[in-house]
Symmetry: C2
Subunit: 155 residues, 2 copies
Amino acid sequence: MSEPRWLSEEEAQRWLEIREFLWGFPSAMDRQLARDAEMSSGEYSVLAAVSQAAPQALRSGDLAAQLNWERSRVSHLLRRMEAKGLISRCASSCDGRGQDITLSEAGWETVRSAAPGHVNFVRETVFDSLSPTEQEQFSAMLNKIRAAVVERDLW
Amino acid sequence: MSEPRWLSEEEAQRWLEIREFLWGFPSAMDRQLARDAEMSSGEYSVLAAVSQAAPQALRSGDLAAQLNWERSRVSHLLRRMEAKGLISRCASSCDGRGQDITLSEAGWETVRSAAPGHVNFVRETVFDSLSPTEQEQFSAMLNKIRAAVVERDLW
DNA sequence: GCGAGAAGATTGACGTGTCAACTAAATGAA
DNA sequence: TTCATTTAGTTGACACGTCAATCTTCTCGC
C-alpha cells in the first residue's frame, strides 16, 4: 500500500455525515420495529420473505441468498424464531439436507400487524423525502458504490 | 394507524436495493478492517476519534456524543479495548464522574497502521465512485431522509 | 451545609452476528 | 458401486449492542 490519498477537510466532513447515516438508519429502523412491533429488523426480514414466498415454503439457503446473509446467521435466527412459535422448519422433501420454512399462524398474525407501520416508516422517511428523480439518482449512486466494494471482494 | 399506502412494485424493488446497501456497506467496512487490521469498525472509530482529539484526552461521554452511540456501548467497548492494551482510562481531574480516554503506544501504532488502508477503502468506494456534484446531492438526500427519521423521534 | 435530583459512567442479562468446526446428505468420477 | 468431494445446514465460542438497573459524583435551591 503506497502513500494513501488522504481525505480533504471537506471530504472528511462529508464522510462523517455519511457514516453517521449509514450506521444510524439501520438502528433507527430497529427502533421503529422494536417499539411498534417488539421485533428486530432481522425477524421482520425473515417474516416478510417467507410470507411473500407463500404458499411455497422457502428454503433456508434461498432465504440466506435473498437477504445476502451468512447461513449460520439464518440458522441462529430461525432457531430463535421457531422457539417463539413464529415459523416452523421441516426437512425438504426433495433434498434431505434442505430445510423448508413456513410461517405459523402466529407468524402470519405478527407480520400482518407489523407490516403497515413498517411500510409507513419506509415510505415516510425514504420515499416521501426524495422526488422520483432523486430516487433514481440515489439508486444509481448506491449501485456505483456497491460495485466498487464488490470489485474489492468485500461485498 | 389508518390503511397504509403500500409501496408500488417499483418502489418495493428500489427499497430492496436500498436496504441491501444500507445493511451491506457497514458489513463490508467491517470486513475490510477485520481483514486488513484485525479490528472492528467500532474500535477504529474510537481510535480515530481519540487520536484526533490528542494531545487532549477525550471524555467518554464526548466520545459517545460524537459517535452518536449509547454510553453503555462506549463503556463496553472501552473495557475490551483497555484489556487489549489499546487505550487507557482514568478519572477526569475536573469532574470526578468523568473518564478521560487516551491512546497507549500500542493504540497509536494500531491506528497508524490501519488508517492508510481504511482511508483508501473509503476514498476508492465512496469518493472515487461519485462526482463532486453527486457527492453534494448524496449528502443532501441523506440529510432529508435523516430529518424525516428525526421528526419521528427514531434517530 | 444538606438533601433531592440530575448527570457520567458501569454492569449484567440477553439477543444478535461472525467465524470455524462439524454433521449429514447429495453428487459424480472411477 | 464406492468413495472423495461438494453442498445444506447446525453448533459453539466469542465479540458486540441494547436495555434496565445501579453506583457515584455533581449541582442547586433551601
